[in-house]
C-alpha cells in the first residue's frame, strides 16, 4: 500500500469520494443489516419490478453475496408471464429462498376486476393486500421454491413474519413520502400515519409489541432515476418488459396486466431510459401514471396502504 490513502480503492471509473449512489447504497445496506439483526422472522417482498430487484441486489451487497432471508412474492394470478419466468430464473441462479402466496379463494370465486365482479381497488384489496396479509401471517398457504426439484412446494413453515422489508420509495406518491424506514404495523397490517414513532440517529423501531410487525423501507430515499442509474452501474438484470423491443412501447412500472398500461417509448436499454427520465418525455410525468388503481378515488393508493398495501 502506498502512504497516501483514498477512501475508495482506486478502481476504474469510481470517484475517490462517496457519490450520491454510494450514499444511497450505504444507507440501504445499513438498514438491511439492522433489520437482519433485529427480526428473527424476517422476509423481503419481491414484486419482480425494478425497485424490489434493486433491493434484492442491495441485500447481496449487505450480506456479501448472500440473501439470508426469504423473498416473498404475492402472485395475483394476473402478473405478466414474463415476470414469473424472470423470478424463477433468478431464484435458481442466485440460490434464493423464494416464497409465493396468493388469494386462492378470491381467484376461485372470481372476485376480481378482470372477471368483472369488483372494481379495481377492491381487486387490489383482494389479490394483493389480503393475499399479502395472509401470506405474512401464515394463515394463507406459502409455496417455496425447491432448488432440488426446480419447482414450488407447499412450505411447512407457517410462522408469522415479524419484519417485512419492502421496496417503496418516497417519491412515488404522497403517502409514501410520509413513511419511516422502520414502520410498525398493527396485527391487522394497519398503518397509523398520524402517530408514527420518531426515527433519528440511525436508531429505528426494532422493538415491537406481540402481534404486531414492522415494515422496513430501505429504498425510501431513492428516486426512479436513482434506481435506473444504480441498475446501470451495477449491471443488475431486469425483466425485459421495461424496454422497447421494437413495438415502440415499454412498461415503466410493472403490475397486473389488466391494470398496467405500457407507455409509448423507444428506450431499448438502461442508458436510454436514463436519458428519457432526465431530459426526455418522462422527466415531468409521474412513474405510476400508467397504474389505473391510483386514480379511482381522491387518494386511491393511500386508502390501500392504510389497510396494508405495499
Amino acid at each position: 500500500m502506498s502512504a497516501t490513502t483514498t477512501v475508495h480503492a482506486p478502481s476504474s471509473k469510481r470517484a475517490s469520494r462517496i457519490d450520491h449512489l454510494d450514499q444511497l447504497e450505504h444507507r440501504s445496506v445499513h438498514l438491511l443489516r439492522e433489520a437482519y439483526a433485529s427480526f428473527p422472522q424476517l422476509a423481503m417482498l419481491w414484486s419482480i419490478g425494478k425497485d424490489s430487484t434493486v433491493l434484492l441486489w442491495l441485500a447481496r451487497k449487505a450480506f456479501f453475496g448472500h440473501v439470508p432471508m426469504p423473498l416473498v412474492h404475492i402472485d395475483t394470478g394476473y402478473k405478466i408471464p414474463e415476470m414469473i419466468q424472470y423470478r424463477d430464473r433468478l431464484a435458481a441462479e442466485w440460490r434464493l429462498t423464494v416464497i409465493y402466496g396468493q388469494n386462492e379463494e378470491a381467484l376461485a370465486s372470481k372476485q376480481t376486476f378482470p372477471d368483472g365482479n369488483v372494481d379495481r381497488l377492491t381487486c387490489c384489496g383482494n389479490l394483493k393486500t389480503e393475499a399479502l396479509r395472509r401470506t405474512l401471517s401464515g394463515e394463507g398457504k406459502r409455496y417455496r421454491f425447491d432448488h432440488t426439484l426446480g419447482t414450488y412446494v407447499v412450505d411447512t413453515n407457517r410462522e408469522p413474519f415479524t419484519g417485512v422489508i419492502v421496496g417503496v420509495r418516497a417519491d412515488e406518491e404522497g403517502s409514501r413520502s410520509k413513511e419511516r424506514y422502520f414502520s410498525p404495523r398493527s396485527g391487522e397490517n394497519n398503518w397509523d400515519v398520524g402517530d408514527q414513532p420518531p426515527e433519528f440517529w440511525n436508531q429505528y423501531a426494532t422493538e415491537f409489541a406481540p402481534g404486531t410487525h414492522v415494515r422496513i423501507h430501505p429504498l425510501l430515499d431513492w428516486t426512479e432515476l436513482d434506481i435506473w442509474e444504480y441498475i446501470e452501474r451495477e449491471r443488475i438484470p431486469t425483466v425485459g418488459l421495461y424496454y422497447d423491443r421494437g413495438e415502440g412501447e415499454r412498461f415503466r412500472s410493472l403490475g397486473c396486466w389488466p391494470c398496467t398500461k405500457a407507455v409509448s417509448s423507444s428506450a431499448r436499454n438502461v442508458g436510454e431510459i436514463i436519458v428519457e427520465l432526465k431530459s426526455g418525455k418522462f422527466s415531468h410525468i409521474a412513474e405510476r401514471a400508467g397504474r389505473a388503481q391510483d386514480k379511482d378515488d381522491g387518494g386511491g393508493l393511500e386508502t390501500l396502504r392504510r389497510d396494508g398495501y405495499m
Binding site: 439492522e34 450480506f63 441462479e93 440460490r95 418516497a170 404522497g174 408514527q196 436508531q203 429505528y204 442508458g271
Partner: protein
C-alpha cells in the same frame, strides 16, 4: 453457489437471461449523451424546514418547487383542480400535504420528503411539522438534515415553537441554519421592523450557540426572495433562500476523525459454502485499512484487519466514514454486535456504566427517576436506570428548573443514567456521532440524548458485567442447554467474549466451531454420541485450565449426566423461554425436537424475559458467588 471474494475483482460480467438482449451486453454504454454537471455526482444535502405552526413552511417549499420547475407535470393543476372541486382556496402548501387527512386539517402531520435540485446540487427537503404534538416528527426530520431553515411569521415574531425548534436543532447537532422571515407583505414599515427582528433573533440564537448564515425577508405566497429576488423589498441586499441553500457547506463525511464503527453483526454464511467471518458495520467516523490494528470496546479485544470485503466491486483497501463495510480479522476473536470498533493508534472511546447526559423527551408517558429504559447507542443496547434529574430546561422558554423527578414530553433535561453493563461511547464534546443515544419506553423510541461525560461509581447491579478489573474465571465447563431457539449460542458467545476479556483462557464449543468435525444431525443415537464426545473434549480442555463454554443441542438428560460426570466443575445453565418465543426464534430453521428438561441445573434463565446482557450478567453473578464461596 459462487461467492464474491474480497481478494479478487468480482466479475462484473452481466448475468444475462434473455436472448433478445437485456441492455447490458454492450460495453459501449456511452453511446447516449451524459449530462455532466456537478449535481450529478454530489450527494444529496438534507435540509429541514422548521418553525411555528402556520408560519408558512409548506407554502415556502411548495412555492420553491413550483418556481424551480421541480414538480411533476400536472401536479399543480391536479391540486388546483381538487381545490376547485372541494371549494377551497388553492394554497401551495397543498402540494406537500398530499395526504387526505392533512387537507382536512390544514396542518402538516409528518416530515415529508421532497426532492429538489439547483444547478449546484441535489437536495432532500424535509418538511417538519410545526404543531407541538408532532415534535417527534420534527426531530425525525431535523436529525437527518445537514442544514436547517427556521421559518417565522413576521407578524407574530418569535413564538414558543421557534425557540423550541431552534434549541432542538442545536441539541441534534444541526449547525448550519438560516432564518426565513415570512409574510413580509403583512408588515408595516418593513425595513425597520425586519431590522428589529434580525437583532432579536441573532441574540436569541447566540444564546444557544447557533449562528445563522442569513436572515431573509420573504413573501412565501408570492415567491419573493425564495428563488427570485423580490422587487418590492429592494432594501434587502442579502442572499435569497435558494442562494443561501447553495451556500451551505456539504459536511461530507467525517473521514478525518478517529475511526469508529459500531459492530452491526458478525456474519458467517457457512451453509452457503462461505467461510469468511466478516465484522460488518457502518463507519461513523474516520477510516480503516487492511493491516490496521483494531480494538473493540468495551471488550478491549484487538487484532489486525486482514481484508476488507465487498460484493460486486473491487475489494477496497480502505473504507471511510459513511460507508457500510465489512472486514475479516487476522485472528479469530469473539466480537459481537454492540461493540465499537476503533483503531489502536487513535484516541480511544470511553466505556462506563454511569453517564451524565442531556436528554430530550418525546414520550407520552414521562421520563421518571427510578424507572428502567432501554438505551440504544450505536448498535449497543442496554437496560438503563434513571438515577437522577439534575435540571429540566423548558425548551420553549429556556428556563432551568431543579428538583424535578420526571421529565415531561417536549422537555429537555440533564440526567444521570446507570447502565446494566458497560457500553462504549465518546463524549459529545469529543465526537458527536458516537455520543448519541435513544431511550426506548414501552416498545417505542421515546427520547434522545447525548453523553456529556462518564461518571464514576458503577455499582449498578450486583450482576454487573465484568470490567477489565474483574478476576479471571476459574476453569470449569459451562454447559448451556435448552430447546432450539432458547438462545444458547448467543449467550455462549457473550460469555466467551466476557471471560476472555477478563483474562480467562476460554474455549467455545458450539455448532459454529465444531460443526465440520462433529456434524450435527443423524439418528438419536448418533446425536447422543456426539454430545458425549464433545463433553469429553470439554473436560480435557477444562483439565488444562480453560473455561469451556458449551452450546450444542443436548436434549438428553442421560448425555448431560455423562458430561457432568467427566468434568471437574460442571455448571449446567438451563435456558428457557415461552413456547411462542421459541417458535418465533426457531422459525423455519428447525422443527422442535423432544427435549428433556434438566432436573437440577445450577441455573435456570428465561431468555424470553431477559436481554442477552441480563442473562449473561446473571451467569457471571452466579459464577462470582460460587468462586468466592469455594
Amino acid at each position: 453457489m459462487s461467492v464474491a471474494r474480497g481478494t479478487a475483482p468480482v466479475s462484473s460480467r452481466p448475468i444475462r437471461f434473455d436472448e433478445e438482449g437485456l441492455p447490458f451486453e454492450s460495453e459501449e454504454k456511452n453511446e447516449f449523451q451524459r449530462i455532466d454537471d456537478p449535481a450529478e455526482v454530489e450527494a444529496r444535502m438534507g435540509i429541514v424546514i422548521v418553525g411555528h405552526v402556520d408560519h408558512g413552511k409548506s407554502t415556502i417549499i411548495g412555492r420553491l418547487l413550483a418556481d424551480t420547475g421541480s414538480l411533476p407535470e400536472g401536479r399543480l393543476e391536479q391540486i388546483k383542480d381538487l381545490c376547485a372541486r372541494t371549494a377551497k382556496p388553492f394554497e401551495y402548501a397543498f402540494l406537500l400535504d398530499a395526504l387526505k387527512d392533512e387537507r382536512a386539517q390544514g396542518i402538516t402531520i409528518d416530515a415529508a420528503r421532497v426532492f429538489f435540485r439547483t444547478p449546484k446540487r441535489r437536495y432532500l427537503i424535509l418538511d417538519a411539522p410545526g404543531h407541538v404534538e408532532f415534535l417527534k416528527n420534527m426531530v425525525t426530520g431535523a436529525a437527518r438534515a445537514e442544514a436547517a431553515l427556521l421559518v417565522l411569521d413576521a407578524g407574530e415574531g418569535i413564538q414558543e415553537n421557534t425557540r423550541r425548534h431552534a434549541y432542538l436543532l442545536s441539541l441534534l447537532g444541526v449547525r448550519q441554519i438560516a432564518v426565513v422571515v415570512n409574510k413580509m407583505d403583512l408588515v408595516e414599515g418593513k425595513e425597520s421592523a425586519f431590522d428589529d427582528f434580525a437583532r432579536d433573533l441573532t441574540t436569541f440564537l447566540k444564546s444557544i450557540n447557533l449562528e445563522p448564515a442569513a436572515i431573509i425577508p420573504v413573501i412565501g405566497r408570492d415567491g419573493d426572495n425564495l428563488a427570485i429576488r423580490s422587487t418590492t423589498m429592494s432594501w434587502y441586499s442579502g442572499p435569497t433562500v435558494l442562494e443561501t441553500l447553495d451556500g451551505f457547506q456539504s459536511q461530507g463525511e467525517a473521514v478525518d476523525g478517529p475511526f469508529r464503527m459500531p459492530v452491526q453483526s458478525v456474519y458467517k454464511f457457512t451453509n452457503d459454502g462461505d467461510d469468511r467471518r466478516i465484522v460488518a458495520g457502518t463507519i461513523e467516523s474516520g477510516r480503516v485499512k487492511v493491516g490496521d490494528e483494531v480494538v473493540f470496546h468495551p471488550s478491549g479485544k484487538r487484532t489486525r484487519v486482514k481484508s476488507l470485503e465487498a460484493f460486486n466491486r473491487v475489494a477496497p483497501a480502505v473504507a471511510g466514514a459513511g460507508e457500510s463495510t465489512g472486514f475479516t480479522l487476522a485472528q479469530q476473536i469473539y466480537v459481537t454486535r454492540g461493540e465499537l470498533a476503533t483503531l489502536a493508534h487513535e484516541p480511544q472511546p470511553v466505556a462506563a456504566t454511569r453517564i451524565r447526559s442531556s436528554v430530550f423527551w418525546l414520550g407520552a408517558r414521562p421520563l421518571e427517576v427510578g424507572r428502567n429504559y432501554t438505551l440504544k447507542l450505536g448498535t449497543a443496547r442496554v437496560s438503563a436506570h434513571l438515577e437522577s434529574i439534575e435540571r429540566v430546561l423548558d425548551a420553549s422558554t429556556l428556563a432551568s428548573v431543579t428538583g424535578r423527578t420526571s421529565v415531561l414530553r417536549n422537555e429537555v433535561a440533564d440526567c444521570v443514567l446507570k447502565l446494566r453493563h458497560p457500553i462504549a461511547f465518546d463524549r459529545a464534546a469529543d465526537l458527536a456521532a458516537t455520543s448519541r443515544f435513544v431511550l426506548v419506553d414501552n416498545f417505542s423510541i421515546s427520547g434522545g440524548g447525548v453523553v456529556r461525560e462518564a461518571l464514576t461509581g458503577s455499582d449498578v447491579h450486583r450482576a454487573r458485567a465484568r470490567t477489565s478489573t474483574s478476576a479471571p474465571l476459574r476453569p470449569s465447563v459451562l454447559w448451556l442447554t435448552g430447546e432450539r431457539g432458547a438462545g444458547k449460542s448467543a449467550l455462549a458467545h457473550w460469555l466467551a467474549t466476557d471471560a476472555e476479556h477478563a483474562g480467562s483462557r476460554v474455549e467455545l464449543i458450539d455448532d459454529d466451531t465444531v460443526g465440520e468435525l462433529f456434524p450435527a444431525g443423524g439418528s438419536i443415537a448418533e446425536r447422543e454420541l456426539r454430545v458425549r464426545r464433545l463433553a469429553w473434549l470439554a473436560s480435557r480442555l477444562e483439565a488444562h485450565g480453560a473455561v469451556v463454554v458449551v452450546a450444542i443441542d443436548s436434549p438428553s438428560e442421560e448425555a448431560r449426566r455423562f458430561a457432568r460426570s467427566v468434568a471437574r466443575d460442571f455448571v449446567e445453565v438451563h435456558l428457557t423461554a415461552a413456547s411462542d418465543v421459541l417458535e418465533e426464534r426457531r422459525g423455519a430453521r428447525a422443527m422442535p425436537e423432544a427435549y428433556e428438561v434438566p432436573i437440577q441445573p445450577e441455573l435456570r434463565l428465561d431468555t424470553g424475559r431477559l436481554t442477552l446482557e441480563e442473562a449473561g450478567a446473571e451467569v457471571l453473578a452466579w459464577l462470582e458467588e460460587w468462586s468466592s464461596n469455594s
